[in-house]
């Protein structure tokens, strides 16, 4: 493999993705900012005052890491699924498929684009959160590494969704029927210790629970789950999903007849 060629090709995909995100900033940057502001006002401020504290933190402070992680997850996923499927649908994906770069480069370039958008929106939501509450980061390395790994996992998942998608409906089914329920049930708004034992056990099967809690641990120092398990799950997901993405491209699934 020509490494220099692949590095330039990857940089090109990342640059293209960043230009795309900034070109359509009204669709990519403004909606999460508005949505998260509403979450902070309604759930954090209005309802949160009646809830009181959770795990020893103000409700607003407790949900802030979850909302940041939710934004990162949905934007990472959304960026890759819409960009890759759009390229497939408009057939300009062929520009990349005929070029001599490796399929791994195509995956990494798109995932990097998804991660950059996820981080950008995460940063924006963090700034919004700081208007409502105080966030003293307890474990900076855990905070950064967990948010990065989560963003990579959901960018890869978005890529797989785009590979299999045949029409625009197919790229909204997973976010609507899988991602959103798992995120809401993943401990963004509550500690699973509030649930009956059975539902606590069921919740442990939700991978987003580990990401949200590990991230919350990084910022607030409190978590419902073991941080080591969270890292293990994230790393396994990264390896499995990346391998799956490259294999799908190698076999031409959804992109070559």
């Amino acid at each position: 493999m020509n490494i220099a060629l692949n590095i330039v090709a990857m940089q090109t995909i990342v640059r293209k993705e960043v230009v795309r995100v900034l070109r359509i900033w009204v669709q990519t940057v403004v909606p999460p900012a508005i949505t998260m502001t509403l979450y902070f006002i309604i759930f954090g401020n209005l309802i949160g005052r009646r809830i009181g504290t959770m795990d020893g933190f103000d409700y607003m402070q407790y949900i802030a890491p979850g909302l940041i992680m939710m934004s990162v997850i949905t934007n990472s996923y959304g960026n890759v699924v819409s960009s890759f499927f759009g390229a497939k649908f408009g057939r300009h994906l062929e520009e990349m498929l005929i070029a001599p770069m490796s399929n791994a480069t195509i995956v990494i370039g798109h995932v990097a684009g998804g991660v950059l958008r996820g981080m950008l929106i995460g940063l924006l939501v963090t700034i919004i959160a700081l208007f409502f509450t105080r966030l003293d980061v307890q474990h900076p390395f855990i905070t950064i590494s967990i948010v990065l790994l989560s963003s990579i996992v959901f960018s890869l998942a978005g890529f797989i969704n785009a590979v299999f998608a045949k029409k625009f409906d197919d790229i909204s089914i997973v976010p609507t029927f899988v991602l959103t329920p798992l995120t809401y049930l993943g401990g963004v708004f509550y500690s699973i210790s509030l649930l009956p034992e059975f539902w606590q056990t069921v919740s442990l099967a939700n991978p987003i629970l580990y990401m949200v809690n590990a991230f919350r641990y990084g910022i607030l120092g409190t978590s419902d789950i073991n941080i080591g398990v969270a890292y293990g799950i994230l790393l396994v997901f990264v390896v499995v999903l990346f391998t799956a993405c490259v294999q799908l491209l190698n076999r031409g699934v959804g992109i070559r007849e």
Binding site: L5, N6, A9, A87, R91, I98, P100, S102, E257
Partner: protein
């Protein structure tokens, strides 16, 4: 692979087959090769298998069997090297219509590993050559159909491929732009780029290409030098504009004549006579010819006979 003449084969296709998931057998074991520096026409009716063959060569379609080598690089074992040699202008517009013209070409250069500085130089070179430099900051969707086609050519050339494949590049393009594109393609071919062209404008193939292959129902039914192929066409029909009107078609030995209008005579020329005979006989009869044209493009005539009559028709033609 090197030919006997010492030229490298730009493309070598052996027993290439493609059967789609719906059972459609698009290619039934085709064989052909293109020499380095050639200008090669790949012709055939819609659905004949041209675009499938091009898709396989450019790795957009998975083959079912057979082999493809590009400048000696097999697409099975040396795909990266094979891809580096190819530039593709597809049949359908596949531009990112929301992207800027300049960025489209720069991005393509990046996908081939060209550094930003070289990419900018090449992008300017080809956008200027294809008269798109003034539109470089516009989005692709704002371009006319002809401009989009030219942008796809600039995009395909930015990494300066040794083999350029054009799948109906002038479809829907007006005459003036088509002619300027022909001139451009001739220039890059003269500069050493091997070109494979598919087109429905057979005049285009006859004007530009030195070699022609005709594909029909997934099989190559003709593959030879253009001059050799055209020599196989034994009959030609000419339309003569006459200076003075005639009341009936004159009898001319060795020719069949038909008076289409008072001043327009159609002459069917057989293999045993030449145009000197025609003009000698017309002169003897006092018929003055103002101008003359082929009733149909010669390649078009041959193409229609081959495709309509398949092998039987071809045998008849060869027998005269």
């Amino acid at each position: 692979m090197v030919t006997i003449a010492g030229l490298m084969q730009a493309l070598s296709i052996k027993n290439l087959t493609k059967t789609y998931a719906n059972g459609n057998q698009a290619l039934k074991g085709i064989n052909f090769s293109v020499e380095e520096g050639d200008f090669y026409a790949l012709l055939g009716p819609n659905g004949a298998g041209k675009t499938t063959a091009i898709g396989i060569i450019s790795s957009l379609v998975n083959k079912s069997g057979g082999g493809v080598e590009i400048f000696g690089h097999s697409i099975d074992n040396e795909l990266e090297a094979a891809k580096t040699c190819i530039g593709l202008v597809p049949q359908e517009v596949n531009l990112n219509l929301w992207e800027g013209v300049h960025n489209i070409v720069l991005n393509q250069a990046g996908y081939y590993g060209l550094g930003r500085k070289l990419a900018r130089q090449r992008a300017e070179k080809y956008l200027r050559a294809l008269r798109l430099w003034d539109r470089r900051n516009d989005s692709a969707r704002s371009l006319s159909g002809g401009m989009k086609r030219r942008l796809m050519i600039a995009r395909a050339l930015v990494h300066e491929p040794k083999l350029l494949i054009l799948d109906e590049p002038t479809a829907g393009v007006d005459i003036e732009i088509r002619r300027s594109m022909w001139e451009f393609l001739r220039d890059i071919n003269a500069a050493g780029t091997t070109i494979i062209l598919t087109t429905h404008y057979l005049e285009e193939a006859e004007t530009l290409c030195r070699h022609v292959a005709i594909i029909d129902e997934g099989k190559i039914i003709e593959d030879a030098r253009m001059s050799t192929v055209l020599r196989k066409l034994q009959r030609e029909v000419f339309v003569l504009s006459l200076a003075k009107p005639l009341h009936e078609a004159p009898h001319l030995d060795g020719f069949e004549t038909l008076l289409r209008e008072d001043c327009e005579l159609e002459v069917d020329k057989g293999p045993a006579v030449n145009l000197n005979d025609l003009f000698a006989q017309l002169g003897d009869k006092g018929i003055e010819v103002v101008s003359m044209r082929n009733k149909a493009n010669r390649l078009e005539e041959l193409f229609m006979r081959l495709v309509e009559n398949k092998q039987d028709g071809f045998k008849e033609m060869a027998q005269g």
